[in-house]
Amino acid sequence: MAVAEIPRDPRAGVIPDVDPVEYRPSLVTGNPGFHGVTEAVARPVEWQPPIGWYAVLAVSLSMLGLFGVAIAWLMWEGVGIWGNQVPVAWGWPIVNFVFWVGIGHAGTLISAVLFLVRQRWRTSINRAAEAMTLFAVACALTFPGIHTGRPWLDYWMMPVPNQMAMWPQFRSPLMWDVFAVSIYGLVSLLFWYLGLIPDLATMRDRAKSRARQLAYGLFALGWRGSARHWLHYERSYLLLAGLATPLVLSVHSVVSFDFAVSQLPGWHTTIFPPYFVAGAIFSGLAMVITLMVVCRVAFRLEHLVTLLHFDRMAKLILATGSMVGLAYATEFFIAWYSGNQYELFAFLNRASGPYAWAYWIMVSCNVLSPQLFWWKRARTSIPILFAVSILVNIGMWFERFVIVITSQHRDFLPSMWDYFVPTFWDVATLLGSFGLFFTLFTLFVRFVPMVAMSELKGVLPEAHAHGVGPDAHPGRLAGAGHG
């Protein structure tokens, strides 16, 4: 193809160069070449990290310490240290659980769903998003584990023979939840690790010290990049993506069953599964943006994670945010249309009762703030992206707060009405879970390549064995192949 035929975006600079083979905007800018990709991705793992990394780690670790203290005190004293009290028997632990599971959905969405629909721009961000998923699921699993009050008896949730001859009750959505979330965590780990194997081999081959050679070599499993390896690898990866896609949709549906299968007005609705899944993807994408905005600058990956990636993620945020908005509206419509006075009361109470402040924080953060992304200027502005992603994170936490707390705090009898107030330990546990999340993520960016190198090399123009001909754009041809 001739140079003149390549369509140029009139707002050049906003959308990066055009790929001469695929005829679409380049996924990376400045044509780094295969070796350039390796260098850029391996640098944060091999070099002395910047001082800011130690600062972030120190803050995260101290929050993690708070988590430890909060859990230790919980075990010593019992769940009475939290604000959970009838009628609000499910307090912050469940709010935090659903919040973290939701965050843990975007990683698999980006990895699996975008992979299946051949959205190749996912390549620059999927590794970090998958790691984020794993760490969010780890945080999420902590809460059901500890809010039982006797965490050492958590094995009762598993179908294992025991001295009491008791078995789990499989008709309960809470039991489905145990299976859905733990299997989701496990499958996400397998998916992440399979994708990591070729990159761990790269780290092994570049390792200078014996310790690094051993550590990366052990986990690289002896990968030789053989055509046969790649053949099975690609097939397995595709199948894992195909399995993870229905899994990710099922997990948050099952989480929503915890609520929807109960008889409580405000919880007992059929809209919950799709509404929860859309909200989960929405919140997870926001967390990916929050993390990647910081990481790409801190580790100089601006040419691999470009404005194009943020532009696409912002569009997904706009779409899922609007779906969530539609779900909020539908809930009100159904509350009125059902003619059920308890249902109608639950929703009017949500929007105008004692927790109206939380409801309107939720609506303004989740529905209004993403509307900025109708404008391309907002989708490609790092400060706006960062600000909206934080607002969405806050809004989605409040969504779970609204669902869990406001539905319970006014029971059927007015004598049972109460106003839930969190305690110091509620706040400490929430902050502590952020400590766990950020500690894991900080260690991840230091020790694991945070961009999928092998995949990214595969989408460079030079990777096409036939594509780059002698009449392609001359500026991009340095080192390009023939044949």
């Binding site: 295969f34 390796t38 092994r204 990968w223 099975h232 397995s236 399995l243 099922s250």
Partner: protein
Amino acid sequence: MAETGVWGALAEFGTPGALLEASRRVRTAGYRHFDAHSPFPVHGLERAMGLKRSPVPLFVLVLGLGGAAGGMLLQWWVSTTAYPLVVSGKPLFSWQAFVPVMFECGVLGGALGAVAGFLALCRLPRHHHPLFASAAFERMSDDRFFLSIEARDERFDRESTLRLLSELGSSRVELIESGGD
């Protein structure tokens, strides 16, 4: 005509296109025990090398269905035999309520099948391999492309094989020792 002490020959190429062309020519020359090594999957290589489709889907199907069946069996046994308990007046084997857990178990089985199938078919983990003795091979995972021909191939001959590889445009050809493997 295998030689003792020699594992095979290794040739280095600079581009995926050159590797593809070389694989095609080596296969035409009648070699069977050869392999290509690249930092990312080079598409078209499986056709050039005459590789068959990967049988990983079979592992996924069998283990996936096995997982789902196992999940349902477990729930059936627990609910009817090990701990029969009437809940909401439903039959003991109220299978509709057992679908979510059955589905999750099926996905778990399928995912384990995908990974186990990948490892088994690739013969991984294998932390020692004669190719790792080559210093040049370290760039396999960075930006270089390699073709290896094993000495156990009946057409392998120290001189003619190395000559063929040089003629294919390889920038660097070397003999790999078997290293007691």
